[in-house]
């Protein structure tokens, strides 16, 4: 460097509590302090990654199931591709997509959607296939046409199976989305990886890991609740 070095002011960065510097088991003060800047954004990113994947996955799987309901030969190949995708480990699938779509959210979403297809397709189709033939006959007798039968008879009757599929798919995606941070630095995986890197910072590991577990359990419970709300008849039958 030429000339005198510029005066540099190094602020006091505020230090940390004893708990944090000792890396004790859990420091509530750190969580409180970093909730808004780290944990909450990661949680929201995680939720967004999950919802986009489940929503798009559902649209694809639902459309495929609608087709497969009439054209039986579609079922097997779609199931096979879905099962293949489902069996490939997430970390491998993410990496196999990187040459095509790079270290981006697109890569992450494509893989996550891939994991939802099998579950959603099979459940939706199973729901359709469980609709009794005489119910369909009756609907036709009432003069309903294909589309009307689908939306007013088949979909409502398949709803419990569809909801069960959505439940498994959502929980699966929440789990796999944590690994996605390895490809694209967002979601609850991001603080987990950083905590490991930062001399295994326990508080952040517990906070972010705990949030991921809580999100999965909460989503599961929430969807059970929704399932009951949208299919009240299913419950009535049982009791």
């Amino acid at each position: 460097m030429s000339g005198p070095p510029p005066p540099v002011v190094i602020p006091n960065f505020g230090g940390a509590s004893k708990c944090v510097t000792n890396n004790d088991l859990f420091c509530a003060d750190w969580v409180q302090h970093n909730w808004g800047s780290t944990l909450q954004p990661a949680l929201l990113e995680h939720l967004r990654l999950t919802l986009i994947a489940v929503a798009i996955g559902f649209v694809i799987a639902f459309a495929a199931a609608v087709v497969a309901r009439r054209l039986r030969f579609v079922e097997h190949p779609f199931t096979l591709v879905g099962a293949l995708l489902y069996t490939i480990p997430s970390i491998a699938l993410f990496q196999l997509l990187v040459p095509f779509t790079g270290l981006t959210e697109t890569t992450v979403e494509i893989a996550l959607i891939g994991y939802t297809l099998l579950i959603l397709f099979r459940n939706t189709l199973a729901g359709f296939q469980a609709v009794p033939e005489d119910v369909l006959e009756a609907a036709r007798g009432m003069g309903l046409r294909g589309r009307e039968i689908l939306w007013r008879i088949e979909v409502p009757l398949a709803l419990p199976a569809i909801m069960a599929g959505l439940r498994i798919a959502t929980v699966t995606v929440i789990s796999l989305a944590t690994v996605a941070a390895f490809i694209d630095d967002e979601g609850l995986g991001s603080p987990i990886f950083r905590a490991i890197q930062s001399n295994v910072f326990k508080t952040e590991l517990f906070a972010a890991g705990g949030l991921a577990v809580a999100l999965a359990l909460f989503a599961d419970a929430f969807l059970v609740l929704v399932q009951r709300l949208v299919t009240p008849w299913a419950r009535r039958e049982r009791t």
């Binding site: 505020g14 929201l44 007013r152 630095d185 508080t203």
Partner: protein, 324 residues
């Protein structure tokens, strides 16, 4: 399709999907708000006339996979935002080999890199520079040869170094890296995986010093814990690591400079530089000029030891130095 006079049982499902999408969009919106609000708050503190970045196309800065890079990424990004530039950060992309691909494929507009790493890992030069300026000049020449350029380098330099526990050093009479030779394969050396294939790593150690330890690959940031736990006896560290403060570890001398000279400089493509105007380079250079070894070490320590967030550490530093 759903638009019917009578009650449609399919509606709850549609409503559910609509709610899901609404939440997704809100979550999306709010995460954007976060980055916007931080840029808004920093820019509001500077005078309105001093905004060369207003109306310029958005730029994306990347950073590599360790603490100092997160801090550097935030420092440069926040300083630019304060001048009205629109900046997106893609953090924790990976090692030099990976981030360089992201840069050359256009996914990034610029990122902070170490001069010595450019020479050995990207330019694959065998010749070792003998001082920091020579390293910077050679690296700059390489980058300019492929359509990029390097802005001013930082006063601080951060190179790899080998650290051992002081009592282990005194027991085995270790002063320099060369002294490790007598320990042979019995020495366990922990370092990031890429250390294995780098000249500024195992290759240089073997060629220049004849040191041939047992290599233990470790994620960056875990080496101090591994040293403390006795899983390794020597660790690859960065000289600006916050953990090195306080004499808990001893750095071995590197008389043959295999770890090179590692000042930091943002690598930017010529195209981006032209599109952003002169204020862009000026802003980045003003930040680099403040980054002394002490400053960098303190900031790294704030993140690594006090577990503060890189963004907040960078913000405090920029504010204290009138750069935000």
């Amino acid at each position: 399709m759903i638009n019917r006079k009578f009650r449609d049982p399919a509606r709850p499902l549609a409503a559910l999907l609509a709610v899901a999408l609404a939440i997704a969009l809100t979550a999306c919106g709010s995460s954007n708000d976060n980055s916007n609000s931080s840029s808004a708050s920093t820019s509001s503190s500077s005078s309105a006339s001093d905004q060369p970045g207003k109306g310029k196309p958005a730029v994306t800065i990347g950073d590599k996979n360790f603490t100092e890079q997160y801090v550097l990424g935030e420092l440069y990004a926040q300083a630019l935002r304060a001048k009205g530039y629109t900046v997106k950060i893609k953090s924790n992309i990976g090692s030099s080999e990976i981030i360089d691909k992201a840069l050359t494929s256009g996914k990034l507009d610029f990122y902070p890199e170490y001069t010595g790493v450019i020479l050995s890992e990207l330019a694959h030069q065998k010749q070792r520079p003998s001082n920091p300026d020579e390293a910077y000049a050679a690296a700059k020449k390489f980058e300019e040869g492929r359509g990029y350029t390097m802005l001013d380098k930082t006063p601080f330099f951060d190179s790899d170094a080998l650290a051992v526990k002081p009592d282990f050093a005194s027991k085995n009479g270790l002063e320099s890296v060369a002294d490790l030779k007598k320990l042979g394969k019995g020495l366990k050396l922990g370092a990031p995986p890429e250390f294995k294939t780098r000249f500024e790593g195992l290759i240089g150690l073997q060629k220049q010093y004849g040191v041939n330890p047992t290599f233990v690959p470790l994620a960056i940031g875990l080496q101090y814990k591994a040293l403390d736990d006795g899983k390794i006896q020597a660790a690859d560290v960065f000289t600006t690591d916050g953990a090195l403060q306080g004499g808990k570890y001893k750095i071995l001398k590197d008389p043959k400079f295999i770890f090179g000279f590692q000042n930091v400089s943002p690598i930017v493509s010529q195209k981006v530089l032209n599109a952003q105007g002169s204020g862009f380079a000026d802003t980045l250079n003003a930040v680099s000029a403040k980054l002394t070894t002490e400053a960098m070490q303190k900031m790294n320590a704030a993140v690594d030891l006090d577990k503060q967030k890189p963004a907040s550490v960078a913000k405090q530093f920029l504010q204290a130095n009138g750069l935000s």
